[in-house]
């Protein structure tokens, strides 16, 4: 049948995915530590059988087969830091991730957020993922102090501050390859490479900023413009499907 029909359909499908991604980015405009996703497109072609032309040379015909989607990539550009004044909020100023324990025992990575001490005293994220390596806060501690280089101390009313340990940061050769698990936690994959642990402030790693939260890196203007372009691209694809349909209708009506 006419390829244009399927090419147009591939266009509609691709723009649909683009719109879904934009929608997800926009609804997370104010989610702390959210990283926007981007869809990447590529053109798809199909090779056809070779034909022999008059002089014996072989022409292989290449047919366009529309547009394909490589997948969604997460963009790790840093979001702005917002001061919250809470000692339990921590963000990373610069590159790097904080390691956390996932329910299945594997290690996940997060860009920080609001921490809390569980009933057992272990420092964990809001979703309950313990920091890795774990840090235990005494139950009578009033507050926490986190230095820029990662050292964590518990603050008390009646006695001296007690050092609990330090939060190490991890870097990846290709952060865009990390798999997003939701809730600001990412899992390393083959594409991202293994985590390279280090101390905050050294080897290009960022520093810890207590009392701050990293905001979403979604820029509303960019997403709105993308959305308008996507709408028009979708419209164009539907016109192609209509054109192919009309052609087939004309062909069918040749014989009354």
């Amino acid at each position: 049948m006419i390829d244009a029909l399927y090419i147009g359909a591939s266009g509609m499908q691709a723009q649909q995915l683009q719109l879904d991604t934009i929608a997800n980015n926009l609804t997370n405009l104010n989610t702390p530590a959210f990283k926007k996703a981007r869809v990447s497109f590529h053109d798809v072609i199909q090779r056809e059988f070779a034909e022999r032309s008059g002089d014996g040379s072989v022409l292989s015909r290449i047919r366009g087969a529309g547009v394909g989607v490589d997948g969604t990539m997460v963009e790790f550009a840093a979001g702005d830091l917002k001061a919250t004044g809470s000692n339990w909020d921590v963000a990373i100023r610069g590159d790097g991730f904080i390691a956390v324990e996932l329910p299945d025992g594997a290690v996940g990575y997060s860009r920080g957020g609001t921490l809390r001490a569980g009933a057992d005293g272990f420092l964990a994220t809001e979703q309950g993922h313990r920091l890795h390596p774990s840090l235990q806060v005494p139950t009578d501690a009033k507050s926490l102090k986190i230095d820029a280089d990662g050292r964590v101390s518990a603050l008390f009313d009646d006695r001296e501050a007690m050092e609990l340990g330090s939060i190490e940061l991890a870097a990846f050769t290709n952060p865009s390859g990390l798999q997003a698990l939701g809730g600001g936690v990412y899992r390393p994959t083959e594409r991202s490479g293994d985590a390279i642990a280090g101390r905050a402030g050294e080897n290009g790693l960022g520093q810890l900023a207590q009392g701050q939260l990293e905001m979403s890196n979604v820029k509303m203007i960019d997403e709105m413009v993308s959305m308008m372009l996507t709408q028009r691209a979708y419209e164009m694809s539907t016109k192609l499907v209509q054109a192919a349909d009309e052609m087939m209708a004309l062909t069918n009506n040749m014989r009354r």
């Binding site: 244009a4 691709a14 053109d43 072609i45 008059g54 290709n174 083959e190 293994d194 054109a243």
Partner: protein, 242 residues
């Protein structure tokens, strides 16, 4: 050739045209996409080809030839350090398992080994081979020289393809194979822009106008076929009357 065969060829050409237009239009937003254009073959070629009736299925050689439109597309600013665009002519060289390929799609990444690769994982070649970058945010100047922390760590290889020698063979995914003359582009002539991506070079309005013209042309051919059909019908009915 009778009228029906002429109309049939016209219909076939229009379908092929529509397929090419559609491919261009759905890829109007695909980075690095090069538009396909239909160019009519010289008549002598068509004549020669039709003399040799050796094709087993009797498929006539199409009058049109597909060529790749090599003009630069519009640059979009993305702000991503590994998005590279060439604002003038030239191609990036990429190593695939089947050999060397060329591309203008510059949304590169770092693979787990630290090499600069395309989205599909093919290493991008520098002047001295694969490029090992230690960082995802290098500084790349207009001549393709890559530096990190003030030190130069490599230079991208940008080549110019002599399209009068051979034509580009599309491999999909924004990659092209080329068997003609390849020359490394001199540093002064490379116009690389970091943080920008080259969009498609499809001009939507031209393709849409072409689409409308093709539809009407198709309609005209079908009318021709119908006319021929009616003439045949009258011939059979009238002349055949005894």
């Amino acid at each position: 050739m009778d009228a029906s065969k002429i109309a049939l060829q016209g219909l076939r050409n229009d379908v092929q045209r529509l397929d090419v237009l559609s491919q261009n239009l759905v890829n109007a937003n695909t980075p690095g996409y090069r538009r396909i254009a239909l160019v009519s073959r010289p008549f002598s070629e068509v004549l020669d080809a039709s003399r040799v009736t050796a094709t087993p299925q009797g498929v006539p050689v199409p009058q049109w030839q597909t060529i790749t439109d090599d003009r630069p597309g519009v640059l979009q600013s993305t702000g991503r350090a590994l998005d590279l665009a060439l604002s003038d002519s030239g191609y990036f060289e990429v190593k695939t398992p089947d050999g060397v390929a060329y591309t203008r799609k510059g949304n590169f990444q770092i693979d787990p080994r630290g090499r600069l690769v395309t989205e599909e994982g093919h290493p991008v070649l520098g002047v001295e081979g694969e490029l090992l970058l230690g960082t995802t945010t290098p500084a790349i100047d207009a001549a393709g020289r890559i530096s990190a922390d003030g030190k130069q760590i490599g230079q991208l290889r940008v080549v110019s393809l002599d399209l009068s020698d051979a034509s580009l063979e599309e491999l999909g995914q924004g990659l092209y194979r080329f068997d003609g003359r390849v020359e490394a582009l001199a540093s002064e002539r490379v116009t690389l822009r970091q943080g920008q991506l080259e969009g498609s070079n499809t001009v939507a309005r031209r393709e849409m106008v072409e689409l409308m013209a093709t539809m009407r042309h198709f309609e005209a051919q079908t009318k021709l076929m119908q006319g021929y059909g009616e003439a045949m019908t009258s011939a059979i009915q009238e002349i055949g009357k005894f």
